[in-house]
């Protein structure tokens, strides 16, 4: 009876703990923003992916919204969190493939775009077009466009960041070039992330095919490249696995965050980078970035960014609302706030990635302010900028031809495709040859972007096959006989130890008993000579 009581006690305690966990996690968030009560808005984002001053500014503007900000490491970890606890966040910022997966599984809401006019008015028409093109059918739903589920945040590409003092630019014009030149043996890295490295592997495996597509051009070029860079049939996966395995011995590392530091400190000469990291690495290496104590990083390394010509990846991160969120009103307010051009400029200034929001504010405050080098060109010509007024510069600009610019190593880059969606030529920027790669890290030209493919998400059997390929590439594989020999050896050793420890208990292991001596048999007492 006493035992029973104790057990009941324990059970009761367990039940209480569980019920309290249960009740806190399932309490519906019924509070509405407009009834005056404080609303908690739970936002999750990648590490260092927002200027947190903007969160304070948002709270100041909407005093009855309380922002709780947290971070996660990868899209996949975010997915796990949303599966385990769908109401853990109100706004999250996954990448396009994860948004597609989440939307297809009905884990996020379709958005009412009319509530975020700040975004819809200013979003780059080009980006909007790409997102509209990503169509899928959610479970029990009708075909939808990805853009209906997300408010665009940042976007970018993938390419080589390389040290121009060591690496020949011809070698980074293709993904495989770096690995063909023995000069960079153990001096280059790939991403320790299966999607990114698989894309690089596909581009290396089908290099000739891709180059032919690019050479042919045409309106369906991007579609063809996208097809190649999304191949997941077993034969392709095997080929890519072989390619990557042959490249692995030439690598310095598989990395996700140490690459940018390793190239700045000179441990490596080239690394596969996401565009925002590329911009960061180039700036730090040139000493443009202020250290925490206000001093400038002094070490100078000429780094540049190149998106290989056979094609690369283009990715988009967007803000989405999980289905279980009950704070729509506050969510829309936040998304509208973060998409205002002046806030976008502040955010970009802080994180260094490129926003999907276009518009004149971005063009003037970011593109021209950061990249335009027309004034350097004038200095090269011998003008004294102190003596020139703004209207003088304007007149000089009007009268400068492209040929004159080229003569001094400058060129006009047309970004109208991003800002207006056409080729009006209204949004251009003048950069020197040295700064071209840096501009491409944030605002690639239309020509480059057309060679970049969106990679869809992998699931089911193709994910299993990818998993197997990735394990084989990342790990070592001993021949089967060696594995069997090792396992047999270990088992024998274990059995030996067990037998040895129990040697007294096992009859057949005991040595035959020593034969009794004559004296023992007769029960005689044996005495030694001394005693005698």
């Amino acid at each position: 009876m006493k035992m029973l009581k104790n057990k009941a006690c324990v059970l009761l305690a367990i039940l209480m703990v569980f019920s309290s966990i249960w009740s806190t996690s399932t309490t519906p968030l019924t509070a509405k923003a407009d009834d005056g009560a404080k609303v908690t808005l739970k936002i999750a984002n990648c590490e260092d992916y927002i200027d947190e001053d903007l969160l304070d500014a948002f709270e100041e503007e909407y005093p009855n919204i309380d922002v709780v900000y947290s971070t996660y490491a990868t899209n996949e970890i975010l997915y796990n969190e949303l599966v385990i606890n769908p109401s853990s966040y109100d706004i999250v910022v996954p990448s396009e493939y994860m948004i597609e997966k989440l939307a297809a599984e009905n884990r996020i809401k379709k958005l009412d775009q009319t509530k975020i006019t700040g975004y819809t008015d200013n979003v780059s028409p080009f980006i909007k077009g790409v997102l509209d093109n990503i169509k899928f059918t959610p479970k029990n739903g009708t075909e939808s466009m990805l853009s209906e589920y997300m408010v665009g945040y940042m976007w970018g590409t993938m390419g080589w960041v390389y040290n121009t003092a060591v690496v020949d630019v011809e070698d980074v014009k293709s993904w495989s070039g770096v690995f063909k030149n023995s000069k960079y043996n153990k001096r280059a890295t790939l991403k320790d992330s299966v999607r990114d490295t698989y894309l690089v592997g596909l581009a290396m495996t089908f290099e000739d095919e891709l180059k032919e597509i690019v050479a042919t051009g045409g309106d369906d070029m991007n579609a063809k490249i996208t097809e190649v860079l999304n191949r997941t049939d077993i034969a392709s996966i095997e080929k890519v696995g072989d390619t990557l395995s042959s490249v692995k011995p030439k690598l310095y590392a598989f990395e996700v965050d140490s690459g940018k530091n390793d190239i700045i400190t000179g441990k490596i000469d080239a690394y596969v980078a996401w565009s925002g990291d590329a911009a960061y690495a180039i700036d730090v290496a040139l000493g443009y970035v202020e250290d925490d104590d206000g001093s400038f990083v002094s070490e100078t390394k000429p780094l540049d960014y190149y998106i290989p010509e056979e094609g690369s990846n283009i990715w988009f991160d967007g803000m989405v609302i999980p289905s279980a969120s009950r704070n729509d009103d506050a969510c829309y307010k936040f998304m509208e706030f973060i998409s205002r051009p002046e806030n976008v400029a502040q955010n970009m200034n802080y994180i260094g990635y490129t926003s999907m929001v276009a518009g004149d504010v971005i063009y003037n405050d970011i593109v021209l302010d950061w990249f335009d080098e027309f004034e350097y060109y004038l200095e090269d010509l011998g003008y004294d900028l102190e003596t020139l007024s703004d209207s003088d510069i304007e007149t000089l600009y009007e009268n400068t031809t492209e040929l004159e610019l080229n003569e001094y190593g400058y060129q006009t880059v047309d970004l109208s495709y991003f800002f207006t969606g056409d080729e009006s030529g209204d949004y251009t920027v003048i950069v020197s040859e040295e700064s071209f790669g840096r501009l491409m890290a944030q605002y690639p030209t239309e020509e480059i972007v057309k060679r970049c493919a969106v990679m869809s998400y992998f699931d089911g059997d193709e994910l299993l096959a990818l998993n197997e390929m990735w394990e084989t590439v990342k790990g070592e594989t001993f021949p089967l006989w060696l594995i069997l020999v090792i396992f047999a050896g270990v088992i024998l050793l274990g059995a030996g130890i067990v037998l040895y420890r129990n040697k007294d208990k096992i009859k057949w292991l005991k040595l035959p008993e020593r034969k009794k001596t004559y004296a023992e048999r007769k029960g005689l007492k044996v005495i030694s000579r001394e005693e005698l």
Binding site: K2, A13, F254, L463, K474, E476, L480
Partner: protein, 283 residues
């Protein structure tokens, strides 16, 4: 000695309360919080791992995960490499830690544990941070990058050395000095004293040190990633990738379960279950 203890244990309990009414607080109830903790954070997760390991994505019972694990030469090789790395780490830790623990336990300098503190202090710093710092230090000296396996072993030894020193130290410092005097009286030289008296008496510390170094090094992929430049995969990394990258909780759980069984078997084989060996030397 043992006989005496048994006699004492058999003696009648003096403080047995004579009458009990309802739920009365007794010392036993102090265990309830721990019991609840154990149920929530050890038993329940373990049950979940077992559940996931024996089911497939749709929740049906299946052994596919184990079949996949044991028929894939790469995963088996990964297990072998993890064990070899862990063995090397443990051995080097033991060789380095024993003399240190011995000196610490004997030295007069260690009055009040000052010297011990110096050895243990690195444990107070976050180990990822320590790993990064060590990597930079090795790069500075120029050792880093010779061989990734050597790098990983260096990193693991560096991070887990205190876990070997502490248990050996605690056994050696509690050892009765009169044993040493007796051994000297009986004519043993210093070496004989070490091998015949000190070493056998410190076996509990050594075995708990081995357990505490060997097991985590099998799965501690932060160090293998940092020091191996992502080019070396150990079992822990396999499990992590199944859960995070490939969303295959079932296979991840199966690998975790296999690892658990390997650990249990190796502990059983080496006799780690014998309670007399532990004698409060575990941390």
């Amino acid at each position: 000695m043992r006989e005496e203890l048994k006699v004492i244990n058999k003696a009648p309990v003096v403080f047995e309360p004579t009458e009990k009414k309802g739920l009365r607080f007794s010392r036993k109830h102090l265990c309830i919080p721990y019991g609840v903790f154990l149920a929530c954070f050890v038993v329940l997760p373990l049950a979940l791992i077992v559940f996931y390991a024996f089911t497939d994505k749709d929740g049906g019972i299946s052994l596919d995960n184990f079949v996949r694990f044991f028929t894939n030469t790469t995963t088996l090789t990964t297990v072998i490499i993890s064990v070899l790395l862990a063995l090397a780490t443990t051995l080097i830790c033991l060789i380095l830690a024993y003399p240190v623990a011995y000196i610490l336990a004997r030295s007069n300098l260690n009055r009040g544990g000052t010297l011990l503190m110096l050895f243990i202090m690195p444990m107070w710093i976050n180990f990822v941070l320590r790993a990064m710092a060590m990597k930079d230090l090795l790069t500075l000296i120029g050792v880093f990058g010779w061989n990734n396996y050597v790098n990983v072993v260096i990193g693991m030894v560096y991070d887990y050395l205190p876990f070997m020193i502490l248990p050996i130290y605690s056994v050696l410092s509690k050892m009765d000095k009169s044993y040493l005097e007796a051994s000297k009286d009986l004519g043993a030289n210093a070496f004989q004293t070490l091998t015949r008296v000190t070493l056998p008496l410190s076996m509990p510390g050594i075995s708990s040190g081995i357990t505490m170094v060997f097991m985590p090094t099998m799965t501690c992929y932060v160090i293998s990633d940092t020091f191996g430049n992502g080019l070396i995969t150990i079992v822990g990394k396999l499990i992590d990738e199944q859960f995070t990258t490939f969303q295959n909780w079932n296979l991840g759980s199966a690998i975790a379960l296999v690892l658990l069984v390997i650990m249990l078997v190796s502990m059983w084989v080496t006799g780690g279950f014998k309670s007399e060996d532990i004698r409060g030397t575990n941390l």
